[in-house]
């Protein structure tokens, strides 16, 4: 009951603060632009071009085209928006006068944090479902290719968000600042983890020292791997076999570590 109330409170906050509405409008805008793109017969052109190679090639190319809509730029933009919208939840809960009332209720501190985390992830899931489902529907209706594995990207992207948000939540609890937690999170999780994912092609071409390589590898393994998970997601949709799930496993471990640290820190902190 109390857990449900906490979930309800967070979702209500998103609705009342028009966060969900803003996200839907922004995503609607992206889809509207995409709709214009389709109306300009680009897809028809692509269809004709792809169909030259036969049925199998046509289907494969349409799937590739669909997945291209989850390209790194859109991936970055969507997660950027999601992290911005979720940045204020923890700091606003910790504001003086607000946290006092909350902690005076018969709710354990761990329950408060876990409920907050799950409700924000649930909101992200709704927004990602809206975005991915609409893209999939439009392309499928237009091309007649109904590639259901594409929809698994909703779950993969929700997982990526949960991993990123777990770190943002911990930063929010420690710093009690939306902006600071957002900036640190965006910096560490996008440029840093992006470069670390491509360390063989970037850092290792410049660095020769074994120790430096060890440190870079260490950072790579302990930090979440949003880009690598995206890559795994794309491969699975395309039906390409995935060699290793190491990126998923270590990132999920990172998420559980962040949640545990959040609960631990919040449970010991004086307000």
């Amino acid at each position: 009951m109390i857990f449900k109330t906490l979930l309800y409170g967070t979702i209500r906050e998103a609705i009342e603060k028009k966060i969900i509405l803003a996200m839907f409008i922004l995503i609607g805008l992206i889809i509207f632009l995409f709709l214009l793109f389709i109306n300009l017969d680009t897809v028809d052109g692509i269809q004709q071009m792809f169909s030259l190679g036969g049925d199998e090639s046509y289907r494969e190319n349409i799937i590739r085209f669909t997945i291209e809509l989850l390209n790194p730029f859109i991936f970055l933009s969507v997660f950027f928006l999601l992290l911005i919208f979720s940045a204020s939840y923890i700091p606003s809960m910790l504001e003086k006068g607000s946290i006092d009332v909350l902690l005076s209720k018969p709710v354990s501190r761990s329950k408060i944090i876990i409920a907050k985390f799950l409700s924000v992830v649930f909101l992200a899931f709704i927004i990602l479902t809206f975005l991915i489902l609409l893209i999939w529907l439009m392309i499928s209706i237009k091309t007649g290719i109904w590639h259901y594995p594409f929809l698994t990207s909703i779950l993969w992207f929700t997982l990526i968000f949960a991993i990123l948000y777990s770190f943002q939540m911990l930063l929010g609890i420690i710093t009690q600042s939306s902006i600071l937690s957002l900036v640190i999170n965006l910096f560490i999780l996008f440029p840093v983890s992006g470069v670390l994912s491509l360390r063989e092609l970037t850092i290792f071409t410049l660095v020769d020292s074994g120790f430096a390589k060890f440190i870079v590898n260490f950072l790579y393994y302990i930090l979440p791997k949003a880009w690598d998970i995206r890559e795994i997601c794309v491969n699975l949709i395309l039906g390409v076999s995935v060699e290793s799930y190491q990126a998923v496993i270590t990132s999920v471990l990172f998420m559980f570590t962040m949640i545990s640290l959040s609960v631990l820190y919040f449970s010991k902190k004086d307000y």
Partner: protein
């Protein structure tokens, strides 16, 4: 059995400048609060009042000492089902209406949706906010927010209610209404822990008070005990003659307040009886005599002033 038991409570905060020194907010503090009473906590700013309330509610953790509420240690959060709290400068989500605020916090207090829905109109009516339940609280005045906060603190029918500056921002009529609510709650057997700067208000409603200064308990007792001036009595008599007044001033060193009232300071009851005998021998009607009292405010300033000098 006391509702609140605090034994040798110490609370230290780390100093903000990264030094090893610690700020002691509460020093070896002990206190018991009996059920069915209104307990007032007094003290200047920074005395440790809010820290104490926050420890009792599990918002802040004690450094050492024992704290029990309803005979349970505060680590067992189930005691909070029987507790209500109105913090100073509370902040409710301003996108909610009064009813929604009560519904949200009522459910967090463990009430079912049905119970919450039944209690909301009753609570809003009790604090005089029946017409404002559906209005978003961002349109509320400070006084209305206090009333809503008070309703929130009483929603789960708590046995112990902590109120931090409950009349802050409330107009005089509203303050009187809140005082009446507190007295009604007390009469129905609830225990109220009141933290207020308004000493006159504490004097009007509290059964017992504690004065806290720099983290230490300075004085505790009933309002009568705290405001009584030691070894000083006020006599009310029929009109005294000038010669009797003269005798009283010279022999007994009394302080006259007109012709039928005087104050006599002595630690000996024999001396008090001597005055009574003297008055009776002069056929003076003794209308009454009491131990002298001072206002709580004067006593508070006197005590805190002495502490500051010390």
């Amino acid at each position: 059995m006391p509702v609140v038991e605090v034994n040798k409570l110490i609370k230290e905060y780390p100093a903000k400048n990264f030094s090893k020194e610690k700020i002691t907010a509460l020093k070896n503090f002990s206190l018991n609060i009996e059920p069915g009473s209104i307990f007032g906590l007094l003290g200047p700013n920074g005395a440790g009042k809010t820290t104490l309330v926050k420890i009792l509610l599990g918002i802040t953790f004690p450094t050492s000492g024992e704290v029990k509420i309803f005979d349970k240690p505060i680590s067992d959060i189930t005691y909070k089902y029987k507790v209500g709290y109105l913090p100073e400068n509370h902040r409710f989500p301003n996108y909610l209406s009064g009813e929604q605020v009560l519904s949200y916090y009522g459910r967090l207090s463990g009430l079912s949706v049905k119970d919450v829905n039944q209690k909301i109109p009753e609570m809003l009516s009790m604090v005089g906010m029946s017409d404002w339940g559906k209005t978003k609280i961002k349109k509320y005045s400070k006084g209305m927010m206090q009333r809503l906060g008070l309703a929130q603190s009483m929603l789960n029918n708590p046995e112990l209610i902590f109120l931090d500056e409950p009349t802050d921002g409330v107009d005089p009529i509203g303050r009187k209404e809140i005082r009446d609510i507190l007295l009604n709650l007390k009469n129905s057997g609830k225990t109220i822990f009141l933290n207020s700067h308004l000493l006159s208000e504490i004097e009007l409603v509290c059964d017992k008070v504690a004065i806290l200064d720099k983290g230490s308990l300075v004085k505790t007792g009933t309002i009568e005990e705290i405001t009584a001036v030691e070894d000083s009595y006020v006599f009310f008599t029929s009109e005294l003659s000038d010669s009797m007044i003269n005798d009283l001033i010279i022999k007994f060193k009394v302080v006259m307040h007109g012709k039928n009232e005087f104050t006599y300071a002595s630690s000996s009851l024999d001396d008090v009886n001597k005055i009574l005998d003297y008055l009776r021998s002069g056929n003076i009607l003794i209308k009454g005599f009491n131990k002298e009292k001072t206002s709580l405010e004067d006593m508070f300033i006197n005590i805190i002033g002495k502490q500051t000098v010390n």
